[in-house]
């Protein structure tokens, strides 16, 4: 046992980022051994982009609204996928641990619940980039529309939607921790519940007046309104960005609190060793 002669083996050499990096590495290993997982990440954003690209081409000839800015629908679909992939990236990374019954191993390690949360957000970012970047690049090739033409505001829109995706992912994961794997289908459904009021493809004003406050209570509506302001009017609406950021932070706080509370309750009830297939 030569290693036992070296106390460094047992010493705590790692800080937060070492442990977060370990969990991220485990998921990268998983993706490397399963190409269908990576293919699936890219498949839907690309198909969606192609579909909406053709719809855009049709509308360009028949709609004065779309004719104002050719890329408005493609930009909307790509940004919507940032939110969808962000949420799914968080939820699926969590569910991978549940499916492989690895939560017990993580719980009996130096990894704290906050670090676990952080590692899932890093994985969500990676999965989102893997999923959305190829579709964004193909949009340039197929339709001569570059979402990167949004310029610096794109970074803000991307970050705001990704963070909201994390918040929903945290709530979904908290639900799975509380009620078990029966709730995992929520990971696929949750995002579509807010799609009609997110003003993705149409302005908030299209919604009935009683539904508009619901729309403004989500960070998605100001982000997509802001996107249209850039593409159609050529203006960056800081008021919409500030609105989205404030609502985003509230949802992030709520999601993180729910996740950490559910983790605590799971530890209290002994569920961490039981949640799994």
């Amino acid at each position: 046992m030569t290693e036992l002669a070296n106390p460094d083996v047992a010493a705590d050499q790692g800080g937060t980022w070492t442990r977060v990096g370990a969990v991220v590495l485990r998921h990268i290993y998983l993706m490397r051994t399963s190409w269908p997982r990576v293919f699936e990440l890219m498949y839907w954003p690309t198909i969606q982009m192609i579909l909406w690209g053709f719809i855009t081409q049709f509308f360009l000839q028949h709609s004065s609204y779309v004719a104002q800015a050719a890329g408005v629908l493609i930009a909307a679909v790509l940004l919507w996928d940032v939110l969808f992939r962000g949420q799914l990236g968080f939820s699926l990374s969590f569910l991978e641990e549940v499916w492989s019954r690895n939560l017990g191993n993580l719980a009996v390690s130096p990894l704290t619940p906050r670090e676990f949360l952080l590692s899932l957000t890093v994985m969500s970012l990676l999965r989102t980039l893997i999923g959305v970047l190829p579709a964004a690049l193909l949009a340039i090739v197929f339709y001569e529309f570059s979402i990167f033409s949004l310029g610096p505001p794109l970074v803000a829109f991307f970050a705001l939607l990704l963070v909201f995706g994390w918040a929903i992912g945290m709530m979904v994961s908290a639900l799975v921790l509380r009620v078990g794997q029966g709730a995992e289908s929520v990971a696929w459904l949750a995002i579509f519940l807010i799609a009609p009021v997110s003003a993705i493809y149409y302005p908030v004003s299209v919604l009935p007046p009683w539904l508009q406050p619901v729309s403004w209570a989500l960070p998605t509506a100001p982000v997509f309104e802001g996107m249209r302001a850039v593409l159609i009017d050529g203006t960056l609406r800081y008021d919409l960005l500030a609105h989205a950021l404030a609502v985003d932070l509230a949802y992030l706080g709520l999601g993180a609190s729910l996740f950490l509370y559910s983790f605590h309750v799971a530890r209290k009830r002994g569920l961490l060793l039981q949640v799994g297939e």
């Binding site: 036992l4 106390p7 010493a11 019954r101 009996v108 390690s109 209290k268 961490l272």
Partner: protein, 269 residues
């Protein structure tokens, strides 16, 4: 029988030298689930270099006790202190020096053995995770399986990977739940020899739950007998065997599980 690889270095690691206080200190530990008492009033210590067994019939509270000790289950009452850290408040300070193996917790099946060991080495903050993974795999005769997925291994190989994971950080506290449950007699014997050698070399504290009484007699210097969530007897294996007037620990186990009194107690009456 297969010979053990040369395991034992004569000296104890510096971080364990001179430790005399209990590494594990459990006081009045209890757990209730919705009115059902799974564990009550469990108190014991394990010193550095000590190997303690938790014995009891199914449902006696062994796994619940181990789960509370590892911090994966919060106690309803009492306290667990490991390496001086209260596991309720500061478990993350103790965890880099703790590890476990249990048949109830799988390892990620889609990862290879090498990936699994590197992942856990990094998670526990081991310097040079790649080298450490290779070393521990060699010691547990897993080198040939390093690039196989864990899900493709035999039950015995999985058990050895689980033990390799449990030793990846050279823990000062090692918790083993049924460490040889799925092994054939030859591999089981090899594993027990390995654990005994490892324990002598490292001076770590081992807490073990097992239904294999011969294993407990061979590995453990102290036994805690559990029934209905509480400790009903304790002592060295030889002391318990003498106290109950039995030939081996298995007979003592049956006496306790069937609620027969100790032979010495009967004689005294």
């Amino acid at each position: 029988m297969r010979p053990l690889r040369p395991l034992v270095k004569s000296h104890v690691p510096r971080h364990l030298a001179g430790v005399s206080d209990p590494i594990i200190r459990v006081r009045n530990l209890g757990k209730q689930f919705d009115g059902f008492t799974a564990v009550h009033d469990v108190t014991f210590d394990v010193a550095a270099g000590g190997t303690t067994a938790l014995l009891g019939a199914n449902g006696a509270g062994k796994t619940t006790t181990l789960a509370m000790l590892l911090g994966v289950l919060l106690p309803s009452s009492g306290s667990v202190t490991i390496l001086g850290h209260d596991m309720r408040r500061a478990r993350h300070k103790a965890m880099p020096a703790v590890n476990f193996s249990s048949p109830y917790v799988d390892l990620p099946r889609r990862l290879t053995v090498a990936q699994t060991l590197r992942f856990f080495a990094k998670l526990f903050g081991v310097r040079d995770a790649r080298t450490r993974a290779r070393e521990i795999a060699a010691e547990l005769e897993l080198t040939a399986q390093m690039h196989q997925r864990v899900g493709q291994l035999s039950a015995g190989q999985k058990t050895r990977v689980s033990l390799a994971k449990a030793l990846i950080n050279a823990p000062r506290v090692l918790v083993l739940d049924e460490p040889t449950a799925s092994l054939d007699p030859d591999t089981g014997d090899w594993m027990r020899s390995y654990l005994a050698a490892y324990q002598r070399a490292s001076g770590c504290a081992i807490l073990l739950a097992s239904h294999n009484m011969a294993e407990v007699e061979r590995l453990c210097d102290h036994v805690l007998m559990m029934r209905r969530g509480g400790i009903v007897d304790r002592g060295a294996p030889s002391t318990l065997i003498a106290r109950y007037g039995r030939a081996n620990l298995e007979e003592v186990f049956l006496d306790i599980a069937r609620e027969r009194r100790a032979g010495a107690e009967v004689a005294a009456q």
